[in-house]
Symmetry: C2
């Protein structure tokens, strides 16, 4: 059975992992007859956003602890991730990817990537294994690998950042998946477009199916 | 277009709404060609559970604010709910239903139900409109209506509580929906059973389809 690692960045679109993208990714993996483990870095969130008002709060929260809400407690610190154990890795979107897994939201192409996240992406890439990224997460992969073909949909600033990291950006619409065969990178735009939950389900299904097909061909 | 109201109790299985059940309910409603608004009471959570360790913390969080994480900010205080606007109401599960929307987790059949939640259930029932409840949420509906046929799966304690409230409990397994035609109540067990996300998707799909079929027959 194929085994995916899902990397989370908190729980909630504005300061963590986007919840619909994460849940639909989990469902899509199970529907492919595959399984997953969930990981998140054991670090403080960059900040906490009140998702009702959109305002920043004084709260302190931990990325692993909040990610555990989506995982129902079944989650491991990303420091324990071993590429040899997994067939593929996938990162749902949400601002957590750009605020906790990297500093992209604040520093653009001058951003840094969180250490465990960088190690996970690099080690999977070195082993030639598929890396999937939804929504804004492709910028994190591009920041680490400094090459590859990606989509984040149609957003101009993020597209330019992909190029700034040394990658190539391809415009897409709902549910489309860009497959970089050479680098084994799979990306789909999800909520980087003006989308609803039907589009997210389709995007997650399509990217996981594309990765599974690739694994089946090996 | 049919319009559902989804009632949330936070974000995270141990102290709020169960995230998979909520997300799958949203998806199922859209897949029926219907739409939804999301509501939650503007009250403090009973407590905050660290979902990584399972331990209680000293944090204070608000049910409406945390529910907004699943709703991506698109949520209203339950005090503004009007039964006349909606065709059906549905409550996903999670301990939030038994800790925030009611005190069932602490007081069993002697529990109280949160005022806005009680008003929402009562007003929908008075207008003869469908009420759906997943997982543990049926106990909240039974506590308010003190009659009706429900399932919470196979858990002995909760089944007895349903009877204690004046309801009737029917044992079920994954994805099954109990339809109480007389009272227009729809229930399905989800994570009250030892389930995975495939079962939750099926349960949510089945209960929303059953409610939509009922609405189509009126």
């Amino acid at each position: 059975m194929e085994k995916f690692a899902i990397i989370l960045s908190g729980s909630g679109v504005y300061d963590g992992s986007e919840i619909h993208e994460t849940t639909m990714t989990m469902l899509a993996i199970k529907r492919q007859g595959a399984d997953y483990d969930i990981f998140a870095p054991d670090i403080d969130q960059h900040h906490v956003i009140n998702h009702y008002t959109g305002e920043m709060t004084d709260d302190k929260r931990n990325v692993l602890v909040e990610s555990a809400r989506i995982a129902r407690g079944d989650i491991k610190p990303l420091s324990r991730f071993e590429a040899s154990v997994y067939d593929a890795i996938v990162m749902p979107g949400g601002f957590g990817a750009a605020k906790n897994l990297s500093s992209f939201a604040f520093h653009g192409t001058s951003c840094t990537v969180e250490t465990d996240t960088e190690n996970a992406i690099k080690s999977m890439h070195e082993q030639g294994k598929p890396i999937g990224a939804l929504c804004i997460s492709p910028v994190v992969v591009a920041a680490v690998l400094e090459k590859g073909k990606y989509t984040i949909g149609q957003d101009k600033e993020s597209s330019e950042a992909i190029a700034g990291f040394g990658g190539e950006h391809v415009q897409t619409t709902h549910g489309e998946v860009i497959i970089d065969k050479e680098n084994n990178i799979f990306t789909t735009p999800c909520y980087m477009l003006d989308a609803n939950i039907l589009h997210i389900a389709k995007g997650a299904e399509n990217i996981i199916k594309a990765i599974s097909d690739q694994l089946g061909n090996n």
